[in-house]
Symmetry: C2
């Protein structure tokens, strides 16, 4: 009764604004779409659009269908792709979602040996999710979530795979450069450089500065790690990054890692999967590979 074509039409009409335009995209005639939808409307007994002049406005039922289409069609499309991958003899695509910027650097180190181990598995990395990483896992948009905030919920399985310390990064000329650690009060006058993330989600803010009632003088947002570190090296600000990441750049750039507070900020990277996927071999292998110490891999 309710077929894929109906969902496609509803979605495409919404995107293009008219039946006629949608017909072009779907490689059908306007008439075909009109007939199809009319038939569905008769079958279910309710209109999907209000015909207002020469334009269509979704009814309540139509809006519901649109939401359904936006949700199901991508899954069907992904399924078609995946079937073709099976046909091509590939195992499939491991679709990885990421929720933190520095995770990306870490991930690269894992993906590279993984691709060697599993030549018939493709890896795809996504970073934007309508409903966040967890939603993407539930919706089968991704198969694996890399995140600093695990969430133990039924149906999902999280595992810590990597421990690291989040440190402050300053230029080698900075007055603090030699200190054994820094206190929040010492950062009041600084420019804080970070990835484009709301300040509330930054560890250096919510675990270090905010509890002490300190705010940075200014907050600057930069997309890439390299540029961020160049800014820091040239004394234009400070930032916070994983220690291992800073150490990798330390010989090429004039930057110094510093412990945040006496105890430092300890962090972990977690991998999350759907419980039902727990025994897919190539997924299991990824998690196991990720768990192996980074040292062994980065050699």
């Amino acid at each position: 009764m309710l077929e894929k074509i109906h969902l496609s039409i509803v979605r495409e009409v919404e995107r293009r604004g008219s039946l006629t335009a949608a017909a072009d995209v779907l490689c059908l005639t306007q008439s075909a779409l009109s007939h199809s939808m009319k038939k569905l409307e008769q079958k279910v007994g309710t209109d999907i659009w209000l015909r207002e002049g020469r334009s269509l406005r979704l009814t309540q039922a139509g809006k519901y269908l649109l939401a359904l289409a936006e949700r199901l069609l991508p899954q069907l499309e992904r399924a078609e792709e995946r079937l073709e991958q099976y046909a091509a003899g590939e195992r499939g695509t491991l679709c990885i979602g990421m929720e933190c910027h520095p995770c990306y650097q870490w991930l690269l180190k894992v993906v590279s040996p993984y691709l060697d181990d599993w030549p018939d598995v493709d890896v795809d990395v996504k970073q934007k999710f309508q409903f966040g990483g967890i939603g993407a896992l539930f919706a089968y948009e991704i198969d694996l979530l890399v995140t600093p905030d695990p969430l133990y919920k039924p149906g999902l399985r999280f595992e810590a795979v990597f421990d690291y310390e989040q440190v402050l990064v300053v230029g080698r000329q900075h007055v603090l450069a030699g200190a054994p650690h820094v206190d929040p009060e010492q950062l009041g006058g600084e420019v804080l450089i970070t990835y484009p993330v709301e300040i509330e989600r930054l560890d250096i803010y919510n675990q270090f500065l905010m509890p002490a009632g300190i705010s940075p003088r200014r907050h600057r947002v930069i997309e890439t790690t390299e540029i961020m570190l160049q800014m820091v090296a040239s004394g234009r600000g400070i930032t916070a990054l994983p220690r291992w990441l800073v150490e990798e750049y330390a010989d090429k750039m004039e930057v110094v890692p510093l412990r945040l507070g006496k105890k430092g900020i300890a962090k972990q990277i977690f991998l999350g999967i759907r419980e039902s996927d727990a025994d897919i071999d190539y997924l299991k292998a990824f998690v196991e590979l990720a768990r192996r110490p980074a040292i062994a891999r980065s050699a």
Copy 2:
């Protein structure tokens, strides 16, 4: 390319064990099914079943399709029902999911006036979810989640609608019955009666006993509130429940609420919805009704 019928066939063949049997259920002939699937197999280029003698065994691709079918078909079926509801002039069904036992008692108080206010909306309550309450929200299994653990994730919106105190419940004859409050140490020898939930998820355990290093002598599990309270009244154990719930039973049963620790344990019930549903009127109305003080309703 990949159509609903293919998913239906895969699912039904799995359920009934053969194409022939599936054909009966789907009101088609065995031949029709065979042709349909053959065509799909040719299109995607991979077999879906291994033909072993006169039986079919799913290939990897087939298993993948089966998982897809089990996931998508229920959503399509639900959508068809819902469209017909729209057609019948009904507003739809408000599907409520619940993640905590005592929430149920509270929910009943809200649902009753809601049904009066919205005669053309049906209410359905579900309690079991493959992927937990959050997963059910994301998967559109439910429209509203009642839970004590909110989760601020993009795409979801949680709101506290009800505050209550979680208290210890003892029989009127119990030695502690007159105390102003209880300390964890006083419960070391007791039998703890609870709903069937892992002990780690119980507030009385993880917020009260565990931090003090105390374990109850024994943990007994009971399904219903009434029986639980009868057990408590007869001195066979203690339990923890919302204060308002205990007070409702207090005149019929020999039970006494006691504060847990000096400060007590404060709890809240949250309602979670999908952000995209935020302006569905009958959903909004439910949340608003739920927010109104319980006193006003239970009168």
